[in-house]
């Protein structure tokens, strides 16, 4: 086989191989995405998306929710809200089997859901907005 034919077949096979290298890279990226999503199962149940706030947290931030999520200024809370009008342990958001419930933990300024103050444990639906201090967040469906 002369060098031309050899070169020809080497390049042809290299082209086909390159196609598969690309596909392999894509598959690796897809798998990484899936792994990233599953590494963070907390996001599966629901998320809180910030729609308005004083300065922090930034509007558009997304907080994944666990089955039990505490909100407040204290560092021990799952969702730390650095807002002057938020109490140390302000409210608790729980997922009970079929839906979400929010309970105010005796905060100074109270918790609002869709503008209405929360007195007792109240059920929440996706799309409802929760306000703690100056931070207003919307409950959204989780990923996956």
């Amino acid at each position: 086989m002369d060098p031309l034919t050899l070169a020809l077949w080497a390049i042809r096979l290299a082209f086909l191989a390159a196609l598969y290298v690309f596909l392999a890279l894509v598959v690796r990226a897809l798998l990484r995405d899936v792994r990233a999503a599953s590494r963070d199962p907390a996001g599966a149940l629901g998320r809180l998306v910030v729609v308005a706030s004083g300065s922090l947290p930034a509007v558009g931030s997304v907080f994944p929710l666990d089955a039990v999520t505490t909100l407040g200024r204290d560092l021990g809370c799952s969702v730390v809200l650095d807002d002057a009008f938020a109490s140390a342990r302000h409210a608790i958001l729980t997922f009970r089997g079929r839906g979400w419930y929010v309970e105010d933990l005796g905060s100074t300024n109270g918790t609002l859901v869709n503008g209405v103050p929360v007195a007792v444990a109240l059920s929440l639906g996706f799309g409802d907005e929760l306000q703690i201090g100056e931070v207003r967040m919307r409950l959204e469906r989780g990923i996956g």
């Binding site: 086989m1 002369d2 031309l4 034919t5 020809l8 077949w9 079929r98 839906g99 859901v113 869709n114 503008g115 209405v116 109240l122 059920s123 929440l124 639906g125 996706f126 799309g127 409802d128 409950l139 469906r141 989780g142 990923i143 996956g144």
Partner: protein, 507 residues
């Protein structure tokens, strides 16, 4: 603002459930669909790749025909049957050794494409026949005057020429093959056509027009595409069916048979007449005698006793009902039209009885009948017929085509019984009355003539099938001369001449 708890998502119905799971499921269904597409690609690009790429209508093969040098075609002794020549313009064209080869070889012409072996093996002859794309693509980089493989065939130029000469001005076919290996020694179909004339660009048009417009249809390869009423040669098939199913034995005799010779055999209200062997008188014939004198009554009764299903089954084992696996495409031989209610597809007992002696709706190709003779000759195992025995590449590498058997049709003992009966049909005292001319000095010939009645006023077809030497056969053949009269008139003597020439050439 909407009161809390009314956001969509809490009532738990199907509309509320998250999309995620469904998306995954839909994704899987789509992946399956694409998987199906990939399997489809695999089907055409791997499974069917070979036979499509070798097809003479494939673009690559056609393109190669314009540039590549066709390999030669050789006979069994290495004599050149087809080769190339350059014309005044430097272009190559095909030349054939003899017009008698027109049926098996066909032609290869720029204007009219190819036919016969030239078409069937176009990709090998043009060197496009590589199995994998690598060699096919590599071929592109070799110097342009690239040669294809030579075909080594099993044909004998001598026998082929002789067969065509003996058929003369009659239309007909001769198929001669070696029953041990299936190699076809001669395949003649007359009238022949001028294949060299068609292949030569200077004479292509008139030669092809002459062939196409000839009322004798020379472009039809009668040996494999002609379907004829077999007449008494079909009795061998009936014998195979009866013996292998156990319905009859060599000693089977029908008491009503002698009387039916004069009055005719009544089958479902229809009278089947004989009368071809008045000299047997009131003798009750057994199988060898019935075969020797070609008794229609005996065979009709044997066929009825075997039954439609038994006949059909044996015929299928022999290759009826389907094209015969062969280098060239063959027509299908049939036992009956198959539309009837009786087992095997017969309309009624009359048709079954008639088919048993080769009338009725039976239609056979000469190749099929040659194979019937070869099966008996080969001890009951049917050989696979083949024309091409090897491919020889330009570098000298030989790729043999493996021989094979199509299957066992009947037991060795039964085959021997039939062979003995067929020997009597040629060599026996009474047999010679029918098969005069088929005898060869010094060789025991076994065979059977046939006179195929066509109805109307035309002459019947003249048939002969047989093999020789009867003890250890090396050649089996079938001869048909269209409207040649009784079997013994044309076909039997022709076969005798063929056999004589064949054995004379043996060392």
């Amino acid at each position: 603002m909407t009161p809390p708890g009314t956001g969509v998502g809490l009532r738990g119905g199907r509309g509320e459930r998250p999309l995620g799971g469904r998306v995954v499921r839909l994704g899987l269904v789509l992946a399956l669909a694409f998987g199906g597409l990939m399997l489809g690609a695999g089907y055409w690009q791997v499974l069917r790749a070979d036979d499509l790429a070798r097809d003479p209508n494939d673009a690559a093969v056609i393109a190669a025909a314009a540039s590549a040098v066709r390999g030669r075609i050789l006979d069994r002794d290495g004599r050149v049957l087809a080769t190339n020549r350059r014309d005044a313009g430097g272009e190559l064209y095909r030349v054939y050794a003899d017009a008698s080869l027109s049926a098996p070889l066909g032609y290869a012409s720029r204007l009219y494409g190819s036919a016969g072996l030239e078409a069937a093996y176009a990709s090998e002859l043009l060197g496009v026949g590589g199995d994998d794309p690598v060699s096919r693509a590599l071929a592109k980089f070799r110097p342009p005057a690239q040669r294809g493989d030579d075909l080594r065939t099993s044909l004998s130029l001598t026998l082929q020429r002789l067969a065509v000469r003996l058929l003369g001005a009659d239309r007909g076919a001769v198929v001669a093959l070696d029953p041990r290996t299936g190699e076809v020694l001669a395949m003649a179909s007359t009238p022949t056509f001028d294949a060299s004339g068609i292949a030569n660009p200077a004479t292509s048009r008139p030669a092809f027009a002459a062939a196409r417009d000839d009322p004798g249809q020379p472009l039809l390869n009668r040996a494999i595409q002609g379907r004829y009423v077999p007449g008494s040669v079909f009795k061998i098939v009936t014998a195979i069916a009866g013996l292998s199913s156990g319905a009859i034995t060599a000693a089977t005799a029908f008491p009503q048979q002698p009387a039916a010779e004069s009055t005719g055999l009544l089958v479902s209200g229809f009278r089947i007449r004989d009368g071809h062997h008045p000299f047997t008188g009131s003798e009750v014939l057994d199988f060898p005698r019935a075969t020797e004198v070609s008794c229609n009554i005996w065979y009709a009764l044997a066929g009825l006793r075997t039954g439609g299903a038994g006949m059909d089954e044996a015929a299928r084992r022999l290759g009826f009902g389907e094209p015969i696996p062969f280098d060239l495409s063959t027509a299908t031989s049939q036992l009956t039209n198959g539309r009837g209610p009786l087992p095997g597809g017969f309309m009624d007992d009359v048709e079954l009885a008639s088919a048993a002696f080769g009338q009725g709706e039976v239609l056979v190709t000469p190749l099929q009948m040659a194979l019937v003779a070869a099966t008996v000759a080969n001890g009951g195992e049917e050989p696979r017929p083949r024309l091409v025995t090897a491919f020889v590449s330009p570098s000298g590498a030989v790729r043999d085509v493996p021989e094979g058997m199509l299957g066992r049709v009947l037991s060795t003992a039964d085959a021997a019984t039939i062979a003995a009966a067929m020997t009597r049909a040629v060599e026996g005292v009474d047999g010679q009355r029918f098969t005069s001319g088929a005898q060869v000095a010094g060789v025991t010939v076994a065979g059977k003539t046939g006179t195929a009645q066509l109805g109307g006023t035309g002459e019947p077809h003249s048939w002969f099938i047989g093999f020789a030497p009867a003890q250890a056969p090396t050649i089996a053949l079938a001869v048909i001369v269209e409207q040649g009269g009784r079997g013994g008139e044309r076909a039997a003597p022709l076969a005798g001449d063929m056999l004589r020439a064949y054995f004379a050439a043996q060392p």
